[in-house]
């Protein structure tokens, strides 16, 4: 599938890194990319299940434009949220809905993560997509 320019760049950037530690460093850095969902807005409704740490997401759609807010107590998880932010935030909802978690596999981040973390990523992805669908 075809990705936005920003996402394509990010995927390439990740693919260029061989060292797992460096890749993790990049994920950590991307934690700053989220639109932060403040802790006082974390609720059962925003919680991503199946994560070992607290991870919360919220979606707003304004004129079919996706706004993605998120936050986690794990910086690694929030880094994954940062990646998802770059992939979908400000995108057109209809385009966003065509996205699959494959892009994360292509980046090589999923197999840099433990199964529990990559399951966590999938759960987050599914939750966000479902929210978008329900709101449309």
């Amino acid at each position: 599938m075809t990705y936005s320019e920003e996402l394509t760049e990010l995927i390439e950037e990740f693919q260029e890194i061989d060292d797992k530690m460096e890749r993790l460093e990049m994920v950590f850095d991307l934690a700053d990319e989220v639109n932060l969902l403040p802790i006082d807005q974390w609720t059962d409704a925003t919680r991503v299940n199946g994560c070992q740490s607290e991870a919360h997401v919220k979606v707003e759609i304004i004129d079919s434009n996706v706004r993605f807010y998120s936050g986690a107590d794990s910086k690694l998880v929030q880094g994954l949220m940062g990646i998802l932010t770059m992939a979908i935030d400000n995108g057109d909802a209809n385009v966003v809905l065509t996205l699959t978690p494959d892009f994360a596999t292509e980046m090589g981040i999923l197999n840099s993560l433990s199964p529990s973390r990559s399951n966590g990523f999938r759960n987050m992805f599914d939750k966000v997509m479902n929210e978008i669908k329900t709101q449309m």
């Binding site: 070992q52 433990s114 199964p115 529990s116 973390r117």
Partner: protein
């Protein structure tokens, strides 16, 4: 298939092992043994709630067993237990104690294994529950008329799918239908049927199904209870401890919502990994035709033994297991088993944990030959030949 089972190379007293004790436990193919070996040599770790690679592999291995169980038997809930016996005790404690009240009735049959009798006797005593036993008739089938009479007002029917003594397969579809019409739940003891049939738990409509890995080419120490969602939601926790909780404080605890609620403590990880391979191995067996093959051998054996003057207990109907239980008119059964062992034939004697059935048959035990898919007709023929020799020399 035989070369996949390392133990079949074994010799006993200089003779090749002829393993005819499959209703007690089956042998394991290399894929099962190797998977456990590989787990202990490469991936051993405790499961759940850990980040490191080995823990991830162990968790994935453990949970793959649950997935394989659900898919093989078409079930939505698979609780992993230590075996059939614990699975039935789990129903008694987790469902029975929470949902039965003083004066309720449970239906059992005279054909049940002790593991499907004693837990209910214990519960009956504790809660003043009435136990109604469906009698076994002369033709070795359940008295369905008396079952229909007994079902009125019963809350639970516990029935063995295939008798481990007789091989008789009970009409469980009919039993489930009648039970459902009368608002009773059904617990199926599938210890002997799960190895010999492709069972569709969802289609069958029973509420609980208990069975053991070790009787279906899997390891010892593990089994399962399949449960419908409805029955699952009625179950209260049984054993308490790690893994089954959500939160614990000194003021009280909350429990997991999924199957782990009933899997307290570090689970049977290597065993689950071995069982997964056994289930996959069975998926690749053409069970229908293999079953027919060994049942034909069992029928032939029954006929031969009858001609030699033995009393054979079994009817060997289409869906019955390839089990031949018999008695010599005078010779002691243990002596026979002993003499058989001298030439490598492994059979079981005794009450087979089904004393009420034997009481009904007015005997105290049988010699039992039970076949599985790796047995050959040649083995059965050599059994008969040697059996004749025993009769000549020792009877």
């Amino acid at each position: 298939m035989r070369e996949e089972f390392p133990i079949l190379q074994r010799e006993i007293n200089g003779y090749p092992l002829v393993y005819f004790d499959n209703a007690a436990t089956t042998q394991k193919p290399s894929v099962v043994i190797d998977a456990m070996n590989d787990y202990y040599s490469n991936s051993n770790a405790n499961v759940h709630r850990a980040v490191h690679t080995l823990a991830g592999e162990a968790t994935e291995g453990y949970e793959s067993c649950r997935r394989e169980l659900k898919s093989r038997f078409n079930a939505t809930r698979a609780i992993i237990t230590s075996g059939t016996t614990e699975a039935i005790n789990l129903v008694a404690h987790a469902w029975g104690r929470a949902n039965l009240v003083d004066g309720d009735a449970i239906i059992l049959t005279e054909m049940e294994h002790h593991s499907d009798i004693v837990p209910w006797q214990m519960l009956a005593q504790e809660m003043n529950i009435e136990l109604r036993y469906v009698p076994v008739q002369k033709d070795l089938t359940l008295d369905m008329e008396l079952f229909e009479a007994a079902i009125k007002g019963a809350k639970l029917v516990c029935v063995v799918h295939i008798s481990n003594v007789l091989g008789v397969c009970n009409p469980v579809e009919r039993i489930v239908k009648i039970a459902k019409q009368n608002g009773a739940k059904v617990l199926l003891d599938a210890a002997q049927s799960a190895p010999h049939q492709d069972i569709d738990f969802g289609e069958l409509g029973a509420d609980f199904m208990a069975f053991s890995a070790h009787k279906m080419c899997g390891p010892t120490g593990i089994g399962a209870l399949l449960v419908t969602d409805d029955a699952f939601n009625e179950m209260q926790p049984f054993m308490g401890g790690g893994d089954m909780i959500e939160t614990v404080s000194i003021h009280g605890s909350t429990y997991q919502k999924n199957e782990q609620k009933f899997e307290a403590g570090t689970p049977r990880i290597a065993e689950a990994i071995g069982w997964t391979e056994a289930l996959k191995w069975l998926n690749d067996v053409d069970i229908k035709s293999e079953h027919k093959r060994i049942l034909d051998s069992a029928r032939w054996l029954a006929k031969e033994l009858r001609e030699l003057g033995m009393t054979v207990y079994g009817r060997h109907d289409k869906n019955d297991a390839a089990v031949v239980s018999f008695l010599h008119p005078t010779m002691n059964s243990e002596d026979l088993a002993h003499l058989l062992d001298a030439r490598g034939f492994a059979v079981r004697t005794g009450h087979h944990c089904a004393q009420p059935l034997l009481d009904r048959l007015e005997i105290t035990g049988t010699v039992r030959v039970s076949l599985y898919f790796y047995n050959t007709h040649d083995e059965v023929v050599s059994f008969v030949d040697y059996f004749k020799e025993i009769l000549e020399r020792f009877a």
